[in-house]
């Protein structure tokens, strides 16, 4: 009897999980479906779900009008570059906070997080002026730096949390065996924290990929990533929803595929240390 209840509960949990999953995924599914409709079908009332004349016309139009590969490459460089640069800075920072904390470590961590509480638009003009002075407006270098800076608090926090789960005795043992600080971080700490570092990397890559305020405001033609590509198909005067959906699908496809293949790593990292 008890087993039957467990099965029922399992079924219920599965049904709830699937319902929530479908609910979350539905906007993406709808965007993908709309991208294969004509503009008239895209706004039809009642909406058509699957039974419509599927067309690739929107993708053809988007390909002809925009240099997709340039936007994609910019996104890859900006998201990848900022994540790697962020990790290079954050790993030693998180190590020191986790293993040799001072009395101000907690305050520093909170202060770092507080920078995320400031609305981005509040510092738009100062950052824009700095970019003009440095000559890095509309460059991938500029965007890599800004993306790294805005995501750095999250990277440090995540790594700090993961590092705290690693027994300090192992590091002490390596020191006893004569490992230098550099060797300790690279050969001892990093391999043990791989799941945490990988999930931090993935999460920050996704955050940088989707970031739309700075990438729109600090770029023009040369360094514009896929967020600008999507924005170029949005129009308040004219029904171009099918084309916008095609552009959106093309923009989210790479990150969706990356997320799909790395979901095990991501879940493992995010639950790292949650159950002891």
């Amino acid at each position: 009897m008890a087993r039957a209840v467990t099965n029922n509960r399992k079924a219920l949990n599965t049904a709830i999980a699937w319902s929530i999953g479908i609910l979350i995924f539905f906007p993406i599914l709808w965007t993908i479906l709309t991208s294969f409709k004509t503009e008239a079908q895209a706004i039809s009332d009642p909406p058509v779900f699957l039974f419509f004349d599927w067309t690739l016309e929107n993708y053809t139009v988007v390909q002809e009008r925009s240099n997709y590969m340039r936007f994609l490459w910019n996104s890859v460089v900006i998201a990848g570059g900022s994540t790697i640069l962020g990790l290079i800075i954050a790993v030693p920072a998180a190590w020191s906070m986790a293993f040799v904390p001072s009395k101000r470590t907690k305050d520093i961590l909170l202060w770092m997080l507080s920078t995320k509480m400031l609305p981005a638009v509040g510092v738009l003009y100062p950052i824009y002026l700095i970019f003009i002075k440095l000559g890095i407006l509309d460059t991938r270098t500029g965007l890599v730096i800004v993306m790294m800076l805005i995501n750095l608090p999250i990277i440090v926090w995540m790594l700090y949390t993961y590092f705290r789960e690693i027994p300090v005795e192992i590091l002490e043992a390596s020191r006893m065996d004569g490992a230098t600080l550099k060797e300790e971080i690279i050969h001892i700490l990093t391999p043990m924290a791989v799941p945490g570092i990988a999930s931090t990397m993935l999460l920050n890559f996704i955050l940088a990929w989707n970031e739309a305020f700075w990438t729109l405001n600090l770029t023009a033609a040369k360094a514009a990533p896929l967020t600008a590509f999507i924005a170029s198909y949005s129009s308040p005067e004219g029904l171009f929803y099918a084309k916008l959906s095609a552009a959106s699908t093309m923009a989210i496809a790479p990150i969706l595929i990356l997320g799909w293949f790395s979901q095990k790593q991501l879940v493992r990292g995010l639950t790292f240390g949650a159950v002891k």
């Binding site: 008239a40 824009y128 407006l137 029904l239």
Partner: protein, 433 residues
């Protein structure tokens, strides 16, 4: 012989070098709409003629506005040509941010630009942005539903007639609504429509001393009329409807009348997208007999930021894109119905363009709007559906939220007007008016 060859080679090198020196790469910021996208497709013609190449930055209207404002106010130099509207042009020109367009070539023919457009894009008689296309607003109505209601649309209807017709056309059971109007909050959304409408009712945003006027009877009459009409004959959820939502409703045959931008005419008469393409008539935006119609005036124009390093090439581009030849180029490639409308007088004298069904009403609507004298009583500002001051966009968006809430039934008309008066007064005082 050797000397001759050397001289020839040297002159050839100089020639190539000079061409290369003059060939610039221009970065142009623009909005995503049909006319601008067509222009991007025809850029090769400009490159062939001048040698200059173009990098396009296409953005959604509101994103573009924020982006170019940041750049021009900081002298960022990210763009050589910017697509700007009638609202920004006089403000930016007064700040010295735009290059004057007073030395364009004779062939460009500045006198051919429609006077209303020229007036809205000039400061002290100097043109600061060249109109790429212009628009007003007008009534688009279903001829079959109007006939069924036993009415005939006059060319210049009153609001009384329009309201009566809307109520008669409404058949809510069959999802047909007599009138579709903007309700979505925003200075370029419901406030564009309501400000233009208030002009016809004798209202104004500010008196000559910059005092807010929402506590005056004309605004109450405007807002009450609008809310009552929309409650009786408008579609459900109208407080979230903007241009695209109403376009969608009209194309699906759910609106008897729609008062909005004249550029919508080409969409609603396109049989590929519209189910009512062959049943659409056009009329001037309504009046109340006070001498002003409810139509607005807008232009998307090309401006050159002061301080650009490529001013000469930028001017060449502006001349190309806003010329009579460009209109003919579009007509040859895309047909006369797709040429950018509302900028040049010569377009409306062209026999080919006269066959386009909405051409005459578009011109009449544009000509009936006067940005220098938009209201019945005098005002200290320029602009028909806006006041060309930097504070307007922020204030009008907040006022738009109050009016949208009144339409949604979340507050009364009196409450909305009271809040609008208070917030406008506060903002204007804070700005030092």
């Amino acid at each position: 012989m050797k000397l001759k060859n050397a001289l020839f080679a040297a002159s050839a090198l100089v020639s190539v070098a000079s061409t290369a020196a003059f060939a610039e790469e221009l970065t142009i910021a623009t909005v995503n709409n049909g006319d601008m996208i067509r222009m991007q497709g025809l850029t090769d013609d400009f490159t062939e003629k001048t040698g200059h190449t173009v990098e396009w930055v296409t953005l959604e209207e509101n994103v573009l506005r924020q982006r170019v404002t940041t750049d021009i106010s900081t002298k960022g130099g990210a763009f050589d040509v910017m697509t700007i509207g009638m609202y920004e042009t006089p403000i930016w020109a007064r700040n010295g941010w735009l290059v004057a367009m007073d030395d364009m070539s004779e062939e460009w023919d500045a006198d051919d630009i429609l006077p209303a457009m020229r007036g809205g894009l000039s400061v002290d008689g100097t043109l600061y942005a060249a109109p790429f296309y212009g628009e007003s607003s007008m009534i688009m109505y279903r001829t079959d539903l109007m006939e069924k209601a036993g009415l005939e649309m006059p060319d210049a209807p009153t609001w009384e007639f329009v309201a009566d017709a809307a109520r008669k056309m409404t058949d809510k059971e069959n999802e047909i609504y007599g009138i579709c109007l903007r309700g979505k909050a925003g200075w370029g959304e419901n406030m564009a429509f309501l400000t233009a409408t208030s002009n016809a009712f004798g209202a104004r945003w500010f008196d000559e001393n910059w005092t807010a006027q929402f506590d005056q009877p004309a605004w109450k009459e405007t807002l009450e009329f609008y809310v009552n009409l929309m409650n009786d004959a408008g579609p459900p959820g109208a407080s979230t409807n903007g241009f695209n939502e109403n376009l969608s409703l009209f194309q699906q045959g759910k609106c008897g009348m729609w008062i909005d931008a004249t550029v919508a005419a080409s969409f609603v008469t396109n049989p590929d997208d519209s189910t009512v393409a062959d049943k659409v008539g056009f009329a001037l935006a309504p009046n109340t007999g006070l001498g002003k119609n409810s139509n607005w005036l807008w232009a998307w124009a090309l401006g050159i930021p002061a301080g650009t390093q490529k001013e000469a090439a930028a001017k060449e581009f502006v001349e190309w894109a806003t010329s009579k030849e460009y209109i003919e180029l579009v007509a040859a490639n895309e047909g006369w119905a797709n040429v950018p409308p509302g900028a040049r007088t010569s377009l409306y004298e062209n026999e080919n363009y006269k066959d386009v069904p909405f051409a005459a009403m578009t011109l009449e609507s544009i000509q009936s709007a006067d940005p220098q004298n938009p209201t019945v009583d005098p005002v200290p500002y320029i602009g028909v559906q806006f006041a060309a001051i930097p504070e307007f966009a922020g204030i009008a968006t907040e006022v738009g939220q109050e009016f949208s809430a009144a339409l949604a039934g979340q507050q009364s008309v009196d409450e909305a007007l009271e809040k609008a008066q208070a917030l406008t007064t506060d903002a204007m005082e804070a700005a030092g008016y």
